[in-house]
């Protein structure tokens, strides 16, 4: 077994830990605290980091670690490493956080086992080189996330969200399979690189491209396919909201990127399409968030907007063939994972203190936050940092990645892309109109009735907040810190475009 490359252990460790966690939870049922599953999960994710380091090191040495089983191979490249980094870091935070958050809930062992499975599937998805295999990872990720979304399965609202999520995601996945059938029927191969070599502007490939775009687009929350997102993000337990928003929709984007990269030759309109969806996402996401009164729903719509920024960066690379746009976009992917993870975990902390600890599953309203800063100083500061970063204010991480995307847009010299960059900047200004009131509410003096009667937060809950908050600030001050991750990832995107420039 020692001959397995390190990156496979990143998948295997959480994967193998999942049944153990479940079993441990079944044996440990009496206590209702789920100490064992919780501890094991955190341990497994920490161990996966142990595999991450050598994997990253071997990639940095220029080796391309690969693992082959039968005809299907997994290969770690920059993009996969980046996705793994986001999934593992956010996953560790979420696992740490969920222990106190879910205290007393039934079925925690399933929660942890599925969380581990989902993380493993996301890491695997990033390494897939086979079209069908990519879909299988994707589907496995989706299947493990359904229960996580509908975890409070006694609550009508989370059942509703879970059902909508399941149906739309399954419809998208059926479209992807149809697309795979088309590609397979025309090219006779499933290997992404071979497809990339064979694909041309024929109607069959075009139709497959449409099916892939929409199929994966449902998961990546392209407007108008995003309709499941606000429901699922707002109803899931907060840790899962963070995962969904910070990693899962990005995993959809990465899958989309892989496939579109292979089908690049099919149509010259890919950049137009990506940029168009990007603009639509930014505008619709921001406008929808503008009128929200529920905190988690607001944050969910802001994810829609942020996917738009990532799409814009990718469109710039697709149009110009320069890696900078993709690099900015992937940097933004990482930052968005950190910032949105922080935002959801902080909002979840407040939700916990104000509602869940009292057995109430109502939505956290913006008005409830009034005065939160005095009773929950850490959560309030964390949420403020997160939304300021999301709004693109320096010196926080979100500003730097947006800047990188903007620079790429201007360097392309294309007036349309420059106009889109200006549009994106205007959207950032617009987004402050709903981020800022959150902060205003939290720093009010007069506490809301909820805050006045809120419970204290467990200490462990604060740990991920501190970690993510520091990351958001440090990356904002020193953006070059992640170049080792985003640079190769952008290179991977470029090479998946087949060097057709």
């Amino acid at each position: 077994m020692s001959s397995l490359p390190a990156f496979v252990w990143m998948i295997l460790v959480p994967l193998l830990a999942a049944p153990l966690v479940y079993l441990a939870g079944r044996l440990d049922r009496r206590s209702g605290l789920a100490r064992w599953p919780y501890g094991l999960t955190v341990l497994a994710l920490a161990a996966a980091w142990g595999a991450f380091v050598p994997a990253a090191a071997s990639l940095a040495r220029g080796a391309a670690p690969a693992f082959r089983l039968g005809a299907v191979s997994l290969q770690l490249d920059g993009l996969g490493l980046l996705l793994a980094a986001v999934a593992l870091s956010l996953g560790l935070c979420v696992a740490l956080y969920s222990g106190p958050y879910l205290q007393g809930e039934p079925g925690q062992e399933k929660f942890y086992a599925l969380l581990l499975l989902m993380i493993a599937m996301i890491v695997g998805l990033g390494c897939a080189t086979d079209l069908f295999n990519l879909w299988v990872w994707f589907e496995a990720m989706a299947v493990s996330s359904y229960l996580l979304v509908a975890f409070y399965c006694q609550q009508p609202a989370s059942l509703e969200a879970g059902f909508k999520y399941l149906v739309q995601s399954a419809a998208g996945s059926a479209l992807v399979v149809a697309g795979i059938a088309l590609v397979f029927g025309v090219s006779g191969t499933l290997d992404l690189a071979a497809i990339g070599a064979a694909a041309g502007p024929t109607p069959a490939y075009l139709a497959a491209g449409v099916l892939f775009l929409v199929g994966f687009g449902v998961k990546a929350a392209l407007v108008p396919l995003h309709t499941w997102l606000p429901d699922a993000h707002s109803q899931a337990p907060s840790g899962i909201s963070a995962m969904l928003s910070g990693v899962v929709i990005e995993a959809g984007l990465v899958a989309l990127l892989r496939v579109v990269g292979a089908l690049l030759e099919v149509s010259p309109s890919w950049p137009v399409l990506l940029a168009g969806f990007g603009a639509l996402n930014m505008l619709a996401g921001n406008l929808l968030a503008l009128r929200q009164t529920q905190v988690k729903r607001l944050l969910a719509y802001s994810s829609v907007a942020h996917i738009g920024y990532m799409l814009l960066g990718l469109a710039i690379t697709f149009a110009s063939g320069e890696p900078l746009g993709a690099q900015g976009s992937l940097f933004h992917l990482v930052n968005h994972g950190l910032m949105k993870g922080l935002a959801f975990l902080a909002a979840g902390g407040l939700l916990y203190g104000l509602y869940i600890a009292a057995g109430d599953h109502g939505p956290l309203q913006v008005a409830d936050l009034a005065g939160a800063s005095r009773h929950y100083p850490l959560a309030a500061l964390a949420l403020s940092l997160a939304v300021l970063g999301l709004g693109g204010l320096p010196p926080l991480a979100g500003f730097m990645s947006k800047w990188q995307i903007f620079v790429a847009g201007f360097q392309s010299g294309d007036p349309w892309l420059m106009a889109l960059v200006v549009f994106a900047a205007a959207n950032s200004a617009l987004s402050l109109a709903y981020y800022a009131p959150l902060i205003n509410a939290m720093y009010r003096l007069e506490p809301s009735a909820r805050v006045a009667g809120g419970r204290r937060l467990p200490k462990v809950l604060g740990l991920p907040l501190v970690g993510l908050g520091l990351a958001v600030v440090v990356l904002g001050v020193w953006p070059g810190l992640l170049d080792w991750l985003t640079g190769p990832a952008a290179g991977a995107v470029l090479s998946s475009l087949g060097g057709s420039f």
């Binding site: 449409v210 929409v214 429901d231 900015g328 205003n440």
Partner: protein
């Protein structure tokens, strides 16, 4: 030494901000002391930097990639603005130790104020466009957070939000400019840009120039993006004095002055700058006449005075603009802090409830009148010299009709200043008696500023030398203080200006003759001359659009599926449109 000073100017306030935030609200007196200590140290460092001004890069931090090098260049312009920020910041904090005595959330107040001081100094000293933009946004962030410091007051929240969004929209201009410059020159350094601006295509340079004008107008509250400043008066008064009178609002003028050599050749740019400045000076002066809130009057007067500076930059009188920037920072901070002393004593900002305060608060009256002299530009106060320099520059470098407009603004300034002083200190007492005259720490800050108002014009010579010596691209000429004073006094325009000031006084004194006109104009002026309406329209339309989009999220699964189908059709259409070989 230079590097130490630079690091101290930026680092000490930020360190202080962090320390105070962590210290929390538990022991207010310790917070007061900490804040004063950190800001005073920063102020001293800034004063120490003044004689060391140079046009060389003093500090360089390479971020690599598309972030370039972050550099600090302590040239005359930067050092001046940084020193104003640090010193007046220190005085504002000294004042605040009395003003905020019974305040809550002191830690937040002091941290944000210190954060602002550091950021403002950084903005002034930055030698890289990206760093400038970065600090530009941080100052906007602090300004927003401090305007809505009293978050329980919906007007404060709305004012903060308005300021944030408007300056952000303006910031897009700076963003576009910086991005264009980087895309064409491959470097963020301002020195590179100034040296190689001529090599840029004409259209690109024009875009940058007008982008910067947009950013400057938003930051310096110039027409038509001025309407956030009056609403920003909800901030605690020391903050108003510091951010919304003495420092941050100067950033726009500073930006225009710094890049003037690159943009002066852009067609219509200079005229546009002058028109924006003159229009702001004129309209804000009019609005100040009709306003019933002491802080809002001062806010309009700030817009108007900033208009003077912008006009000066446009006409090429760079030294005059920076000289007036210094004067205005001092006398306007004085006026605001004095107003703050009035407000704490009375508990109101309403002019209708003031009056007759001259005898009850003699100290405040004295300093307030000194400040008003500076504002009006009466001889011996610093505003006299700087404003006259601006007008002379305008007469030489700009069209006569704009000069005439500026003269009207001078008269208006005199009129509304007289009105303000009269309403506050003259006449009968129209409300409850003040609790007390200014407190000791307040007095200290006010006295220092009053002294500055009366004497800062003596610095004209050294200031001119410093600017001329360290700004090679601007081709400025150094003139000694006394020669300058002599030239001003000998210039016929000076006496014309003084005559206009007298006319302005007469206008207010004989206001009964214009009652009908005033009554007709009042609603127009109180409504902000239609700019408020425009703002509301934009906000309302955005909200309406948002409501429309929100209806598309029906929550019905069937519609969601239809959206997927629509997405399929749209994607197919786009791919097909471009996909035919």
């Amino acid at each position: 030494m230079l590097q130490v000073c630079l690091l101290a100017i930026l680092g000490l306030p930020w360190l202080g901000a962090a320390v105070i935030w962590l210290a929390g609200d538990r022991r207010p007196d310790r917070l007061h002391r900490l804040a004063v200590a950190f800001s005073a140290a920063g102020g001293l460092a800034a004063l120490g930097l003044l004689p060391q001004a140079t046009d060389e890069v003093a500090l360089r931090l390479s971020l690599g990639g598309v972030f370039g090098d972050f550099t600090l260049v302590p040239d005359g312009l930067g050092v001046l603005v940084a020193a104003i920020a640090s010193v007046i910041g220190c005085l504002a904090i000294v004042f605040a130790t009395d003003y905020m005595q019974h305040g809550h959330q002191l830690a937040r107040f002091y941290s944000l104020t210190l954060l602002f001081i550091g950021a403002m100094a950084g903005l002034a000293l930055s030698g890289s466009l990206l760093l400038t933009f970065l600090f530009w946004e941080i100052t906007a962030l602090c300004s927003y957070a401090l305007i809505s410091f009293h978050n329980d007051d919906p007007r404060a929240v709305a004012g903060g939000l308005k300021a944030l969004v408007m300056t952000q929209v303006g910031g897009i201009g700076l963003l576009v400019g910086a991005l264009l410059a980087y895309a064409w020159l491959g470097d963020y350094q301002i020195s590179t840009f100034l040296a190689r601006a001529g090599s840029l295509p004409e259209g690109v340079l024009g875009l940058i120039a007008f982008g910067f004008l947009l950013a400057a107008a938003a930051k310096s509250a110039q027409v038509p993006l001025h309407s956030w400043l009056p609403d920003a008066m909800e901030a605690p008064t020391p903050v108003t004095a510091l951010i919304h009178a003495a420092t941050m609002v100067n950033a726009g003028v500073y930006l225009l002055a710094r890049f003037y050599p690159a943009f002066s050749s852009v067609p219509h740019w200079r005229l546009a700058v002058m028109v924006v400045g003159a229009l702001s000076a004129l309209l804000a002066g009019l609005m100040a006449l009709a306003c019933g809130d002491i802080k809002r009057v001062l806010a309009y007067s700030t817009i108007s005075q900033l208009g003077f500076m912008v006009y000066a930059v446009g006409s090429g009188a760079l030294f005059a603009s920076q000289f007036h920037l210094l004067s205005h920072a001092i006398f306007k901070a004085l006026l605001f802090l004095a107003a703050g002393a009035l407000i704490t004593a009375l508990g109101t900002r309403d002019l209708c409830q003031m009056g007759g305060l001259g005898r009850r608060m003699p100290f405040v009256r004295t300093v307030f009148v000194i400040g008003a002299c500076g504002l009006v530009g009466l001889p011996l106060a610093n505003g006299f010299f700087s404003k006259d320099l601006i007008l002379e520059g305008g007469l030489e470098g700009g069209p006569a009709w704009l000069y005439a407009g500026m003269l009207v603004s001078v008269g208006l300034t005199a009129a509304y200043s007289l009105r303000l002083v009269g309403l506050v200190f003259g006449g009968e007492r129209r409300g409850p008696d003040p609790a007390h005259d200014a407190r000791p720490a307040m007095r200290l800050a006010l006295a220092l500023l009053a002294f500055g108002t009366l004497s800062s014009w003596l610095l004209a010579g050294p200031l001119g030398r410093m600017l001329a010596g360290t700004l090679p691209a601007h081709s400025l000429e150094a003139v000694g203080t006394w020669r300058l004073v002599g030239a001003i006094l000998a210039h016929p325009a000076t006496w014309g200006t003084l005559a206009v000031v007298a006319l302005g006084f007469a206008l207010w004194a004989g206001r009964r003759a214009f009652t009908r006109l005033a009554r007709a104009l009042a609603p127009l002026l109180e409504g902000g001359l239609g700019f408020e309406w425009l703002n509301r329209q934009i906000v309302d339309q955005t909200r309406r659009l948002a409501a429309l989009v929100q209806r598309s999220q029906t929550g019905q699964l069937n519609w969601n599926a239809a959206a997927i189908l629509a997405g399929l059709l749209a994607a197919a259409a786009v791919l097909l449109a471009g996909g035919r070989p």
